[in-house]
Symmetry: C2
Subunit: 466 residues, 2 copies
C-alpha cells in the first residue's frame, strides 16, 4: 500500500467502535469507502458487530457486506430485522444481491428472497440459475439500455429516469425491438450531438466477438475485457438477447482470483482460495488445504525410496554416487516445474489454443535437451577437474572421467525427461478437461524424483559397468 | 477463448495478406480490433510486414504497434517514412507513445522525438522521466479536466472542444486554480443537471487515499483501482497537482503482468517475463531464463549429497532408512513451498502490512507443527502395522515401533522447520527490500533438502542408537 493512503479516518472509526460512540461511527462511516468499512468490520471484536451494523444502518451496510468473506455474510445479515433487510437488499445491485444469496444457507436464501419485491425476486431467481463462476453469475442487469429507433432526446430522458438503477453509464447498449444486442453508444455521444439525431445513427455496431454467452466461464469473460480494453462486456443468451453486463472491476477481481488459485495449486494447496485473508483464516483452515497434497505426495515419495533400496548394491559399490544423487533428482523437479509453469500460464493467458500441443512438446523437448546437456557438461567438468582434489574414494577401474560422464549423461536424460513430463502433464490434463494447474509443480517434482532415481542408477550401472 | 469469438474476419485478413490483396486488407483491417491486428501481424511471414503496414497506413498501425512485443516495435516503425511516423505518433495516446519510445533504441528515440510537434515533444519528454513500472510511467495525460469555478455549460463546451484528446470521460477530474486535484465528476452529472449549476456544487471530493503519487509502484496503483472499484485513478505529484490518470485497462494489464512475473519466479524462472507469447519466444530465450536458477540450485544440491555421504555409516547400518529418505526430504520442500507461496501471495495482495511478521511466523510455526505431527503419525502407523508384512531387514535390537518413531519425529521436525523457513525467507527478503518472490519455492526446496538430510540422519542416530 502506498504511503498516501491516510490511515487516519480508518483508525478513528476503529476507536469509535471500541468506545461504542455511535454518532462518531455514523459520521465517519458515511465518508469511508465500503472496502475500508469491510476491512474494519473484520478487525473489530465479534461482539461489536451488531452495534456497528445497526449504527451505520442497512443502506451503508449493504455495500460493505458484499465485500466480506463468504463465511461472514450470513452472520452479518442476521443482525438486521426483516424491514431493514428489505432496505439492504434493495440497496444492492442485482449481481451483488445474487452473490450474497449464493453465500448463505438454503433456508436463509428462501427467507431473504421472500423479502424482495415481486420484480426483484423474479430477477434474482433468474440470475441465481447461473453458476457462480460463469459470465451469467457475474453479470449485473443494471445498465443503460436504449432502443435503436429512439432519438437522443428520448434516450437522455430514459436514462435520466433510470439513472438510479444503472451501475455504469460508461457504455450504453442498444437493442432492437426483440431485445437483441445490436450496438453500443457512449454517453458523450449523447451529450455532444443534437437532440433529434436517432440513436441508430450514432451507435457503433457490436460484433459477436465483443460479447459473451451467459453460460461461458467467467475467466473467458475477464480475458475478453482485458484483450479488447473494454470497460463493460455485454452478456447475451444463445439468441443474442442482451441479458446483462460484466464490468471492468468484476474482471479485475476475476483475474486476481484466478491468479491466486493458480499459484496456490502450483504450490500443492488444495481447494478454492478462501475469502478470508491469510491472517484471518484459522490454522485449521490452512491445515486442511495443505495436508491433502502433502499426504499423497509423501506416499508417492516412498516410491523413490523403494527405487533407492532396490539399487542398494550399486550405491554400496560406489558410495560417491550419493554426492550427486540429490542434485540429479532435484534438477528434474526444477526443470519439470519450470516447464509446467510456463505451459500452464500460457494456457491461462489464452496463448495455447487447441492443436498447438505438438509444438509445445517439441519446444520443451529441445529446451530440456539443451538444459540437460549444458548442466551435464558443467557438472562433468567439475567432477573431472575439481573433485579429484578432495581425494574421494572410487573403486578400482573407475576413473573420474568415467564418473563425470555418468553424471553428465544422467543429468541430460533426467532433465530432458522431466521437462517433457512437465509440459505433457498439463497438456494431458486439459485434454481430459481437468484443470491443468492441478498437476503443477509439487506433483511433477515428486513424480520425476522417482524417474530420476531410476535413470541415475541405471546409467551408473551401464556406464561404470557395475 | 469462448466459442462465439468468430475467427472468420481474422482468417480472411490472414488470407488477404498472404495474397497481398491490398484493398481487401484495408477493408477488413478497418473493422478489426487492434488486438486482433497485432495477433495477425505476429503470425504472418516477416516479409509481409512492410506491405501490411503500408496498406493499413499509420493511423490504424499506431494502436496495433502498441500491442506488439517490445522487441518487434522498432522493426515495425522502421517500415514507415518520417511523414507517416509523424501521423502515427500523433495518433497514439501519450502513455502509449511513451511506452513505444521506451521500447526502442536510444538513437531511434531521439529521432522519433524530433518528429513530434514541440508541445507533444515536451510532454513526452516529461513523461519519459518516470520509470516504466511507476504510476507516472503508466499514466495518460489525455483526460477530462475542469476547473471548480466553471458552470456546467462552460464545462460541457470545454470537454466537447477537447474530446478528441481525451481517452476516457468516464471520470472527469476537477482542479483548483493552481492545478491541484480537488474533486471528480461523472459525465452523467453534467448531462443530467441544469446548465448554470457550478461544477463545484456537483463534484465529489477526492481524498488523498483515492489518488497516487507519480513515483509510486505501478502495482500499488493497480491494487488501489482494484480495492476501490475505480475506473480511473488520478496521479498527482507531491504537491497534489493532477498530472494524469491510470485507467482500469492499464490496471488489468499491470495485475496480469505481475501475476505472471510472480508465478515464473515461483518456478525458478529468472528475469522479467518476455513480451512474446510462449510459442513465439525462441528456445534460446527460454533457455536463458531457466538455466540461471537451475545451475545455482544444482550446485546447492551437491550440499545435500555431501550430507548424505557424511552419514554413509548410518545408512549402511540400516539401509531401510533410504526407504523414507526421499519422503522426509520432499515433505520439507512441499511444506516450505506451500508456506512461501501463501505468504508471498498475501504480501502482493497487500494483506501483510509491516508489523505482522511475528503473527505470520507464529501461524506458520503452529501449522508446521500440526502438519508435521499428523503426517509423522500417519507414516509411523504405516511403518508399525504394514511395513512388517514386507519383511524388510532391520538390524538386531531395532524394532519396527522404534523405526516408525524415528520417521515420525524426523518428519515432524523437518516439516516444522521447513514451514517456518518457507515463511521466513520471503519476510526476510522484503525486510531487506528484495522481491519476496525471488526466494520462492525452488530455492526453499533445495535449501530444506539439506536440512532434511541432516535432521533425518541425526534423529535416526539418536533414536536408534546407531
Amino acid at each position: 500500500m502506498p504511503d498516501e493512503v491516510a490511515p487516519l479516518p480508518i483508525e478513528e472509526l476503529a476507536r469509535a467502535i471500541e468506545a461504542e460512540d455511535q454518532s462518531a461511527i455514523r459520521s465517519i462511516a458515511e465518508d469511508l469507502h465500503y472496502a475500508d468499512l469491510a476491512h474494519i468490520y473484520q478487525e473489530v471484536d465479534d461482539e461489536k458487530h451488531s452495534m456497528f451494523l445497526k449504527t451505520i444502518g442497512p443502506e451503508i451496510a449493504a455495500d460493505m457486506i458484499v465485500q466480506l468473506p463468504d463465511s461472514m455474510i450470513e452472520e452479518a445479515l442476521d443482525h438486521f430485522k426483516p424491514a431493514e433487510l428489505k432496505i439492504l437488499f434493495h440497496e444492492l445491485s442485482d449481481d451483488d444481491r445474487v452473490d450474497v444469496l449464493q453465500d448463505v444457507g438454503d433456508e436463509a436464501r428462501l427467507r431473504y428472497l421472500g423479502l424482495l419485491g415481486p420484480e426483484d425476486e423474479e430477477l434474482t431467481r433468474s440470475l441465481l440459475r447461473y453458476e457462480e463462476d460463469t459470465a451469467g453469475g457475474r453479470m449485473t442487469t443494471r445498465f443503460g439500455r436504449l432502443f435503436a429507433n429512439m432519438t437522443i432526446k428520448e434516450a437522455i430522458d430514459m436514462l435520466r429516469r433510470e439513472q438510479e438503477n444503472t451501475e455504469t453509464l460508461s457504455r450504453i447498449f442498444v437493442v432492437n425491438a426483440k431485445g437483441q444486442l445490436i450496438g453500443r453508444i457512449r454517453l458523450r455521444d449523447l451529450a455532444f450531438n443534437t437532440w433529434d439525431t436517432p440513436v441508430r445513427d450514432i451507435m457503433k455496431e457490436v460484433g459477436p466477438e465483443q460479447c459473451i454467452l451467459a453460460t461461458a466461464d467467467q475467466e473467458d469473460a475477464a480475458n475478453l475485457l482485458l484483450k479488447y480494453d473494454l470497460i463493460v462486456l455485454p452478456v447475451v443468451d444463445e439468441f443474442g438477447h442482451l441479458l446483462g453486463i460484466i464490468t471492468h472491476d468484476d474482471a479485475m477481481e476475476i483475474l486476481q482470483e484466478e491468479s491466486t488459485e493458480d499459484m496456490e495449486k502450483f504450490a500443492g494447496i488444495a481447494g478454492e482460495p478462501v475469502e478470508e485473508t491469510y491472517l484471518q483464516a484459522s490454522v485449521l483452515t490452512h491445515f486442511k488445504r495443505r495436508f491433502v497434497w502433502l499426504f499423497f505426495l509423501a506416499l508417492l515419495a516412498i516410491a523413490s525410496g523403494y527405487v533407492m533400496m532396490r539399487f542398494e548394491g550399486t550405491l554400496m559399490k560406489i558410495f560417491l554416487l550419493s554426492l550427486y544423487l540429490p542434485m540429479v533428482v532435484a534438477a528434474g523437479g526444477n526443470t519439470g516445474g519450470q516447464a509446467s509453469t510456463m505451459v500452464i500460464r500460457a494456457m491461462s493467458l489464452g496463448e495455447l489454443v487447441a492443436g498447438t500441443a505438438s509444438r509445445v512438446l517439441w519446444k520443451e523437448f529441445r529446451l530440456g535437451a539443451i538444459l540437460g546437456c549444458t548442466l551435464g557438461c558443467s557438472i562433468a567438468a567439475l567432477t573431472i577437474f575439481i573433485l579429484p582434489a578432495f581425494r574421494p574414494q572410487l573403486p578400482e577401474g573407475v576413473t573420474f572421467f568415467r564418473f563425470g560422464l555418468t553424471v553428465a549423461i544422467a543429468l541430460a536424460a533426467q532433465i530432458t525427461t522431466s521437462t517433457v513430463i512437465g509440459a505433457l502433464l498439463p497438456l494431458g490434463a486439459r485434454a481430459i478437461r481437468l484443470d491443468p494447474a492441478v498437476v503443477a509443480a509439487p506433483a511433477i517434482t515428486t513424480l520425476v524424483d522417482v524417474s530420476g532415481m531410476v535413470i541415475y542408477f541405471t546409467i551408473a550401472q551401464a556406464v561404470l559397468g557395475l
